[in-house]
Subunit: 747 residues, 2 copies
């Protein structure tokens, strides 16, 4: 009863049908209007997705919207946030812009939300201005060292260096009353700042452009940590919510920032704090007497943001997998799902993704899911972020859906497409989804693929992911032609931009690791599901922009993509092909293409960093790395042996049950690295290899962070006990992981 | 490729071969000497188990000891704990016995450990004696109400009412300096107390008998919560260990207790505090002037217990399962395990249960485990506790091992036999095992069966377990003849003693729920594995003994069992047959005999209790039970539908992969009730249905406890928020559970 493996003909068909022009048309429609989370246009797009995924010719088996009631933050429509310079007599002598300049006709209108710092509290602080660089802890310490009194000041900071919300957190610790955040042309525009050099004349950010964003520290709906934000769920009292910025904060454009910064008084800022506004940056406090504002003028930051409970939806669409495909047109799963559906209890339950019709009493539907998703909500038009990803998502679902509806193909494992809501406010839709379906997802999900911004720039592929996905990404990209000149594969092009020397493979493209920058975060950190994030991106020799320049501004429009980021949409097509090939490989291969032995390199490098950079220190405190060495060696040996067993079996005709058992070992490996008790103060983070690392040593995050704390502080024995505890947590996880890789008959 | 289902002939063979006489001989050997955890005799028994399980004629596929370094507590061999009455001039006017009376020649010798309260701190408090009944919170409040000054007193308490360690915790809150704990003849001996009425003349406890026990609040090795106590693991500093009794504590026999209690001064104790010592119990403080001791005499409790790191071993033996049995003699699993074993990294790793030899390159070994275990360590000879269970364990492994070695049979799923170490100190061996193999066990274990004390008495079966195991216990016990007169099945006898009216089945035997009384605790509470505990027990109309009278004393000997508890060992045999049949059904049935729909009754009863006893209260605080109603209804519907699908399939010839998928749904259901963040202060407890319930309402424990706290206290909004949070945790768990029961193709 051996089922066919990945069908290369189907793969080729899919690759051929993914159409750049259709992606372009998808993007045009998706980014036609601003579609902020929970806005009417966001709801329209929910309907658009449902319509596409329910299309009889090119849709999926089923699709459904799942709505959550979540806490979002908006500026007041009646009382806009303002940043003013107030003279000594209390009169306003200068005001910053409240909106971006309507350069292309798309930056005006009621749906373009005023730039603001989501979740920053309302308030109207006023004080002398200081310049605090990126607003890191070190930056404020530097100001302190310089003798600048921070109490009651307004701190002007620039984007970068730390997370958005951290700037206000750090500032508040020094008594700062309000924070401004701007984007320096040095960081985003390769130094250029004049309108003639910026959009619509180039891809660079216009002087009035303001980066919006969430300033919330955690992710997920702020009121419902660890619980799905369905209407009935317990919600925290606002007084008990942590993670919002402690003081009023407002982002501004560099045009406004120049007015403020170039008139500052005080000491010259350090060289690394200087930027490209065309003046010498000084630290303040207050304005210089010979500038545009009188010396004792203050800055007033008036923030009127409001928290609101809003409905936000995820849209989920599914192609059911059939363990043994048979006649693809008569889905073996449908009937079972439909006939077994019991009459709904009253009151009506939440929707399920079950099939609405079906007739054949067939059985072999798959209980394994390959998840592919992106968020839908944007700050303004969001052509790049996130619509470039959604345009790819829709083209992929169209091509696969068409094969499905034609009866040409049905995958071995189910493919679930997801359009997440309210990502911009903190990965809210995806997080609530993982909270609602925790058990089912953790039991059955093979991998999660995220394509948020599909194309940052058109130089090269960029992939972040955990080690088991490396091999399937390599396999896929070796077979796809790279856009642009030459006849390289995506892989061969990629390796020119991002590479590393692997002890196992030699020179290979290097995958980045997964932080919490998009919707993969709850999947990897909370559920322990092998995840990846895919995009096309920059040639770093051509730009030093922190991110594509119009990110989270009203200038991120269709024309921006069409003219500057990816004319011809060939990079979009390359991402679609890459993701499509990965989806097919994950869903159709007999053996899951998750190469668990590729974790060995990571573990070895973490171990070596610990040995080299922490070994002596640990020895001083009688902490031995010996058990870690043993655990890593054991993992390496077991992972290699499992790989060999699979190789051997692949040559024969293995029993489907045996394949199932081995695939379970592959799928569940990532889960073995979860320890929900490892980092009690870090919400959702429970992956002992990929939790947030704040320590400087590139080793296991718990170990690195604990060492860093023990080292920093007066290093009481408690701090060193925590180092030892974190080391034991890692050793236990690795030993446990190795145990799951052993032949299943062993205990 | 449909494999045969449970083989009734094999089942009958096993039932027939389980031999009462051999169980008796096992017990004689196991209880020949005291075998306290980590003692030389305990180590001898490790070897005995290994020898039995490696026997070429009747052994298992493999067996191995796994050793942990754990923190145990012992009285000092040099300086025995003493309880003295000290006269006003400081001279000792009376001393309690330091040992039990050597009644049968087995109560003497160096291996009989002095009675003590394990983990009670050392110290020599002295003060006036008070009588505090069971030492509950209410008991001490009563003393306070009576105007008795507790500061600096010694509290005499009796066993029962609360956990051992709780007595000292409650006492210390009132300034009590030391605690004595005794066993009242009313509670253990049906009121009898004279030597002529007690062992060896009856099963009752002799006057000198003292119940030993662990006074530690949690379970597992105290130094390594959530980490396996292997030598390299992080260990808490002793100063950071919580859960030990706060003040010196010592248990005494009722002979000594009578001397103390019958001479007390003060108010007469309440009627419910009176016992069977043959005098009126008074509250103290101090002795009455007309008694045996002068009125101002004090009691001195000198405890010299010491904490020691000791090695304690689990012994594990495995019968490998073969998914498709084929030729049972040529185990399809062996070769794979052996050939794939890689050369051990250096230093040598911990042992694995892998096969040492094997030659056939076969594949279909099972990755599903049925676990069956009992602890090995005793307080003294431990004939009943735990050797009665181990005697059964050895007979079961002999019968199954013989069939295995003869080539007659090999199970579909692996069977793992376990002999746990150091249970008496707090389930230490089993807990460390679950910590070391967390991921593997959670992924693959079908069920855990515990038989600790196999026979408390010979009246009836008694089973504790989670609802999914009810049906397999019923199926097994209906087919086995009950010992004793008549021709009843074990089931028919059982239902006479423990029964309930089930809305689904009518009158059925009632299963108890699982607390933390034996080694099943970490399996159900920490890992979420469906578990059960099996024993033969009392006719409650014939005795009100709190437990069998010689429990944890030096009188729990082979002769005690042979003469009083189970002459002829037919109850032992009945337990062996019951456990054996359950093991075979769990390991050999094509569909797992875990009836998940039996959870519906529990959920419904929890829901009804909440509605009836908490509904009005919750409504007052605007907390709705509506979402819980919906979730329970959804669970009921999905569980019933899954049962129907399985029934339908059982009539046909289902595909093995489909069976696997359904069995995964059955096996993993229990896991979906785990939430490691539900009860952050309760170590290991994470099962939202079976966590410890302190609230009086028999509903979901988190809800019950939170309501109880909110009700008790001045009911601030925080306490009611916690009620709402706990309700949402349950609703989320039930919704998640129901989602996993849906047809697998649905999301
Ligand atoms: Ca939530
Ligand atoms: Ca431990
Ligand atoms: Zn995005
Ligand atoms: Zn974004
Ligand atoms: Zn026991
Ligand atoms: Zn015991």
């Amino acid at each position: 009863a051996n089922s066919p493996d990945l069908d290369l003909e189907i793969l080729e068909t899919v690759m051929g049908q993914l159409d750049a022009h259709r992606i372009r048309e998808n993007l045009r429609e998706l980014s036609r209007e601003p579609h902020l989370a929970s806005s009417p246009r966001d709801e329209d797009l929910v309907q658009l997705l449902l319509q596409r995924w329910k299309d009889p010719e090119s849709g999926l088996d089923s699709a459904e919207a799942f709505t959550y009631e979540v806490l979002l933050s908006f500026p007041s429509p009646e009382q806009p946030n303002v940043v003013d310079i107030v003279g000594p007599t209390g009169d306003i002598i200068h005001s910053c812009h409240r909106t971006e300049e309507n350069v292309t006709g798309e930056q005006g209108g009621p749906d373009v939300i005023q730039p603001y710092a989501a979740y920053a509290p309302s308030g109207t602080p006023q004080g002398l201005l200081v310049y605090a660089n990126c607003g890191t802890e070190e930056d404020f310490k530097e100001l302190q060292t310089q003798g600048i009194k921070l109490e009651g000041t307004i701190a002007l900071t620039r984007y970068g260096g730390v997370g958005r919300g951290d700037k206000a957190v750090n500032a508040a610790k020094h008594g700062v009353a309000g924070v401004l955040v701007y984007t320096d042309p040095a960081d985003i525009n390769d130094g250029l700042s004049s309108p003639s050099e910026t959009f619509p004349n180039s891809w660079y950010l216009p002087p009035s452009g303001v980066e919006r964003g969430s300033y919330y520290k955690y992710f997920g709906d702020p009121l419902t940590p660890y619980l799905p934000a369905i209407p009935s769920s317990f919600r925290l009292d606002l007084a008990n919510v942590s993670g919002f910025p402690p003081i009023p904060t407002q982002p501004i454009g560099f045009q406004d920032a120049r007015d403020l910064l170039c008139n500052l008084n005080g000491t010259l800022a350090p060289a690394t704090w200087q930027g490209a506004l065309g003046c010498h940056y000084r630290l303040g406090p207050g304005f210089r007497p010979d500038g545009n504002f009188s010396a004792d003028s203050q800055v007033n930051v008036s923030v009127y943001n409001r928290l609101e409970l809003r409905n936000s939806s995820n849209v989920l669409g599914i192609i059911r997998g059939a363990v043994e495909p048979g006649e693809p047109s008569s889905c073996p799963c449908c009937a079972l799902g439909a006939t077994a559906t019991v009459s709904p209890p009253s009151p009506a339950p939440r929707a399920h993704l079950s099939l609405s019709s079906g007739s054949l009493p067939l059985f072999l539907c798959s209980d394994r899911y390959v998840l592919y998703g992106n968020h839908r909500d944007s700050w303004v038009h969001g052509a790049v972020d996130p619509s470039s990803g959604t345009a790819v998502l829709l083209e992929l679902s169209r091509v696969l859906g068409t094969l499905l509806k034609k009866g040409t193909w049905r995958p071995r494992r189910s493919i679930v497409f997801a359009s997440w809501g309210a990502e911009e406010f903190g990965l809210i839709g995806s997080t609530e989804f993982t909270e609602e379906f925790f058990s089912k997802l953790q039991e059955r999900t093979v991998a999660y693929i995220n394509v948020d911004i599909a194309v940052f720039a058109n130089a090269t592929l960029r992939v972040q992911g955990t080690p088991p996905v490396q091999s399937v990404v390599f396999s896929a990209t070796k077979e796809i032609r790279s856009p642009g000149p030459g006849d390289l594969s995506i892989y061969d092009n990629w390796i020119r931009y991002f590479n590393r020397s692997s002890p196992v493979y030699g020179l290979v493209p290097s995958l980045g690791s997964l932080g919490a920058g998009s919707d993969y975060a709850p999947f990897i950190h909370f559920l322990g599901i092998s995840s990846m994030d895919i995009a096309y991106t920059y040639d770093r020799s051509k730009t030093s922009a922190r991110i594509y320049p119009t990110y989270h501004t009203a200038f991120d429009t269709f024309d921006y993509v069409d003219k500057f980021l990816d004319p011809g949409f060939s990079s979009h097509q390359a991402v679609a092909r890459t993701a499509g090939s990965i989806i097919l490989r994950l869903s159709d291969s007999f053996f899951l293409p998750l190469k668990v032995s590729d974790y060995s390199e990571t573990l070895r490098s973490f171990l070596q960093a610990a040995q080299q950079d922490l070994g002596a220190l640990l020895e001083q405190h009688s902490i031995s790395l010996g058990p870690l060495v043993t655990a890593v060696e054991k993992f390496e040996a077991e992972a290699a042996a499992l790989g060999q067993r699979i190789s051997t079996l692949q040559k024969g005709s293995p029993d489907p049950l045996q394949v199932r058992m081995l695939n379970d070992q592959l799928m569940l490996l990532e889960r073995t690295f979860l320890n929900p008790r490892a980092f009690p103060e870090e919400r959702y983070y429970s992956h002992v290899l990929w939790a947030a690392r704040t320590g400087s040593v590139a080793t296991f995050p718990g170990l690195s962070n604990a060492c860093s704390r023990a080292w920093d502080t007066a290093s009481g024995s408690e701090a060193w006990a925590e180092v030892q505890r974190q080391l034991s947590i890692v050793v236990t996880a690795l030993e446990g992981a190795a145990a799951t890789l052993r032949p299943v008959a062993d205990l």
